[in-house]
C-alpha cells in the first residue's frame, strides 16, 4: 500500500484528536478531504431517509459504508453524483462539497460532475453493445472521436480493470456474453474510461461468487493509487478487507466513522459493536 506524501494516514489504532471539539466517533481527522458532507438530510416525499449526515471522505483511499439493509447507505452514495435527481419527490437539505465546491450549486454542470465521479452499480449493467463500444461510450459522449485514441482508452481501461487479457480477442462481441464477474469488471473499466477522480461502488460484489469477488477486491486495491473509491457493502468482511475508512450507518444516521481496523476491533459506539458482532443486521 503506497501512500502519497501529502496524505498521511493516521497511525493505526490512534485515537483522533478529541481536543478540537470533534466527536472522535464521527471524525477520524481527515486532512484535505475530497468530499465534505455537511448536515445532509434527504426525504423521499414525507419519509426521511437520511438524517443530518456530516462526513469527510479522504482522497485516494477506499471508504466503505456499512450498515443493515435499508439504512440509507445506497441512497447516501447516490447523493455524491446526484443520481437521486432522477427520482421524483426527492428533497435534499445540507451540502456536499466536492473539491471544496458545492455539487448542488446551479453553476455545476451535472454532466461534468458525473464524469468526474464515476459509479459502479450493484447489478452489472453493461449496455447492449460490444465490449469495445461499452468502454468507448463514455469517452465518445465527452467528445473523443479519434479512433486511435479510443483504442488506447479501451485498452488502458480494460487493463486497469484486469479484463484485457480475457477479452482482447473478442472486443467486438456483445458484452452481454460475458460472465457476471467479467461484466462487473467491464462496468468498472467503463467507469474509469472517462478518467474520473472518484469511483462510487454500490455493492459491486453482491451478485458475484467468491472468486469473482476476490478479483474485484484485488482490483480495488490497484485502483486506489489513482482514484478515490467509496464502496457500499453489506458484507463486513469485505469492508474490513478492502477499506481504509469505514462508516457505519443505521436508520439513516451516521453512527460511527473511523479508520477501518479501529472501527472493527474497537468500536466506540454500542450499536456499531452490536452490528459487527452480528447481534442484529
Amino acid at each position: 500500500m503506497t501512500t502519497p506524501d501529502s496524505m498521511p494516514v493516521p497511525p493505526k489504532g490512534a485515537v483522533p484528536d478529541a481536543a478540537a471539539g470533534r466527536d472522535p466517533a464521527l471524525d477520524p481527522g481527515i486532512e484535505d478531504p475530497i468530499f465534505s458532507v455537511h448536515g445532509l438530510s434527504l426525504h423521499y416525499g414525507d419519509k426521511q431517509a437520511l438524517h443530518d449526515i456530516s462526513i469527510e471522505i479522504p482522497r485516494n483511499r477506499i471508504t466503505a459504508f456499512i450498515g443493515p439493509s435499508g439504512c440509507g447507505k445506497s441512497t447516501f452514495l447516490r447523493c455524491f453524483n446526484r443520481l437521486n435527481d432522477l427520482l421524483d419527490n426527492v428533497t435534499i437539505r445540507g451540502d456536499i462539497l466536492f473539491e471544496g465546491r458545492s455539487i448542488f450549486s446551479p453553476e455545476v454542470e451535472i454532466n461534468t460532475l458525473r464524469r468526474r465521479i464515476g459509479m459502479v452499480f450493484q447489478k452489472s449493467n453493461p449496455f447492449p453493445k460490444s465490449i469495445y463500444e461499452n468502454i468507448a461510450y463514455g469517452p465518445r459522449i465527452h467528445g473523443v472521436r479519434d479512433r486511435r485514441r479510443l483504442d488506447e482508452i479501451v485498452e488502458r481501461s480494460l487493463r486497469a480493470a484486469a479484463l484485457w487479457d480475457e477479452v482482447k480477442d473478442r472486443l467486438h462481441d456483445n458484452a452481454l456474453g460475458l460472465s457476471g464477474g467479467q461484466q462487473q469488471r467491464l462496468c468498472i473499466a467503463r467507469a474509469i474510461a472517462v478518467e474520473p477522480d472518484v469511483v462510487l461502488l454500490d455493492e459491486p460484489c453482491s451478485a458475484l461468487d467468491p472468486l469473482a469477488t476476490a478479483r474485484i477486491e484485488e482490483l480495488m486495491q490497484d485502483l486506489k493509487e489513482n482514484y478515490t473509491l467509496i464502496i457500499v457493502t453489506h458484507s463486513m468482511q469485505q469492508a474490513s478487507r478492502v477499506s481504509d475508512y469505514t462508516a457505519f450507518l443505521y436508520l439513516g444516521r451516521l453512527i460511527e466513522y473511523g479508520v477501518t481496523e479501529q472501527l472493527f476491533i474497537k468500536p466506540r459506539k454500542k450499536e456499531t459493536e452490536d452490528y459487527i458482532t452480528g447481534r442484529f443486521g
Binding site: 454532466n111 447492449p128 461510450y137 459522449i141 452481454l176
Partner: protein, 756 residues
Amino acid sequence: MPLARRIPPGTRQPGGEPRRIRGTTARRRLAADRFGRWLVAAGGVGIIATILGILLFILIEVWPLFGGARVEPLAGVRDARLDPAALVIDEYRTHAVSLDRDGRVRIVDLERGVVDDELPLAGDVGAPDGPPTALAPVSGRPVVAGGFADGRVVVRTVSFAISFDDTGRRLVAPEVSAPTVLAAPGTEGRTVVRLAVAASPAGDELAVAAAWADGTLHVFHTTREENDFTGEVETSVEDRPLEPLAGGPPAALAVSARGERVLAATADGRLALYEAGDPRPSSVSGPGAPVTALTWLVGDRAAVVGRKDGAIEVWFPIRDRGETRSRIVFVRAFPPRDAPIAVLAPSLRNKGFVALDRGGGAGLYHSTSRRTLWRGEAGEAARTLVLAPRADGLLVGGSGQLALWRVDNPHPEISLGTLFGKVWYEGYPGPAWVWQSTGGTDDAEPKLSLVPLLVGTLKGTFYSLILAIPIGVLGAMYASQFMHPRLRNAVKPVVEIMAALPSVVLGFLAGLWLAPLIQRVFPGLLLTLVLVPLAVIAAGAVWHRLPARLRHRVPDGLEVVAFAAAIVAAMWLSFELSPWVESMVFGGSFPDWIHAVSGIPYDQRNAVIVGIAMGFAVIPIIFSVAEDAFSNVPRTLISGSLALGASRWQTVTRIVLPTASPGIFSAVMIGFGRAIGETMIVLMATGNTPIMSWFPFNGFRTLSANIAVEIPEAPYGGTLYRTLFFSALLLFALTFVINTVAEVVRQRLRGRYADL
C-alpha cells in the same frame, strides 16, 4: 393416478397413510392442472383453426376463378339434309336454325333431335338461279343472310317465341321472318362472293357487308322502327358503297351491328378498316398470312382474325387523340392452331369467342384475359359452330349432323395476367392497369386489375404513416423519457382513448369537415411545418436565457406546458397568415395553383386528408406500443449512462433508442397493419377513385374500401364477387407477410438485446 405410476414397481412405499393424503391432493391439483391446460390448448387451437377456416373459406370462394371451361356433349341431331354454313341457336338451347349450303333454312328441334321444318332462304321473293353464291358466316345473332348470282342479298331474322303450356312447361317456337332483299345499284347480275351480317342486341338494327365478284363493296344498315300508336313497322335501309380493295374481292368480311365499322381482309392478308362517313379505308394493316375467318367481338370494338397458318389474332381500331379516323392495331395473339382457321364465332356474353379449324379442332378463348379456356375435337366433318346466347352451349354443325355441347365457363375474364398485369382493354390506346368493375353499356367489359387498388392501399398507408410514425414514436420517446411522470400519467390514457374513437367517426369528420377546411387553409397547414419548429426553437432559446433560479422552479418535464403554449401560438399564427400566404405565394387559390403546377386537379378528398385522419387513428397505437418499449428499457442502463456523465438526450439516443428498437419496430408494424386494413376512413375521406398516382392531392381507392364499395354490386358466385374475395385474400396475405417479416426482424433485434 400419475403420482403412483412414478413409483417403480416393487418399491416399498413408506408410510401408506401420508402417501394417500399426498395422493388425493395431487390428484385434485393434477385434474385442475390438466383441465386448465386443456382449456388453454383448446383456446389456442381454436384461434388457429378459426383463422385457417377463414382462409379456407376465402380460398374456396376464390378457387373457381382460375379454373378453365368444361365442355361436354349434350345432344346430337343426324339428318342428311343438313349442311350448315351458319347456325342460330336459342337462349334455352332447345332449337337451332341452320342455314345450309343448298340455300335452305332448316329449323331443328335439338331436344327431339329432328328437323322440324325447312324453307328456301330467298322465299317467295322470286327464285334466283341456283343456290346462294355466298352465305354469311355465324354472327352469334339470330340472323342469316345469303347472296345470289343475280347480285341480290337476302336477309332473314330468326325469333324464338316463348310460351308456357298448362303444366308450366316452356315452349319455344322458332320463327323465321320474311326475307329482306338488299340490292345495290350497279350490282345487278353480278355474283355476290362474300357476305357478313350483324345485328344489334335488341334486333332492331341489322348490318350487312357484301362483296361482289368485281370487287364492289357495299354496307347496308337497316333500322326497324315500330310506331307505338299504330303498330306499323317501318324499315329503312341505308346503303353505303365502299371503295374496292386493291387485288379483288376481300378474302373475309366483318361488319359491326350498326354498320359503322367494316373490316375486310385482302388476298395478301392485310386488314382494311372502313368507318362511317368515309368510303375509303381509314387504315390498312401490313400483309400477313391469308385471312380465313374474321369477326367482331361483342361490342364491335375488337376484331378476331383467323389465318391460313392457324394464327388467331385480336386487333383493335384505335382512334388517337384529336384524330377522326381510327388505326387498326394488332393487340394480341393466341397460340396458333395446326390447321387454317375456318370459323370464328363471338360470345354474346363476354369478350370470348370460339374457333374451329379445318382439321376439326375447336377451342374456346377469351380475348381480354388471353386465356385458352378449352381445346377439343369437333370432328373432321365439322363445318361451323356457334355459341349459345348465354354462352352456356356450343352448337357444332357438320355435313349431315349437329352436335350440342354444354359449356361451363364461369370466369373466363380472370387470369393472374388481368389481375396484376397491364391489359390492353378495348377502346384504350395501350395496355393499362384499370379497375372498373361495371361499364356504362352492356357490352363494356369489366376491368378487374388489382394493381390500382394495391397502389391506393400503399398510398393511403404511406401518407398516414409519414405523419403517424414521427409523431407516435417521438411523442412516446418524449413522454417516457423526458415528460414529468405526473403529466405522463395523464397523457398516456388520453392518447389511448384516441384509439378507441370509431373510425367511421374519424372518416365522417375527415370527409365532411376536415376536407373542406384543409382546402381553404392548406397554405396555413404548410406554414405550420415551418413556424412550429421555429417556435419550439425560439421557446427553447428563451427558456435557456431565463434566470437559472426561475428555470429550476419548474420541475423537469413540466417545461412542456410552456412549450405547448408556443406551439399553439405558432399554429394560430400559421392559420391567420394562411390567406395572406395564399394570395402572395399561390396566386390567390392553392388548389388552382397546384393544378397549374402539377397538371393534376386538386381533389377535395385527397391523400393528405386521409394521411391526417388515418394518422389520427394510427398515432395512438404506435404511441402506446412505443411508449411501452421505451419504458421497458431497464433503469439500470439509463442510470449507467447518466453516471458516466451522458446528458439525457445522449442517453436517450444512444442507449434507450437502440435498446427499445425491437419494440419500436413492432409499434411501427402494428401501425402499418392497422393502416393497411383500415376501411371506413379511406372509404369516407377519399373519392374512392381507383387511380394509379402517388400525387398527394388526389384520391385513391384501397383494397379494403373497394370490397366495401363493390360487394353490394357483386352477385353471389359471380366473377366480381370472387375477385373481391381474391382481394381479401391478398389483404390477408399482405398482412400475414408484413407481420411475419416484422416478427422475424423483431426477434433478430431482440436477440441482440437479450438477457437484459
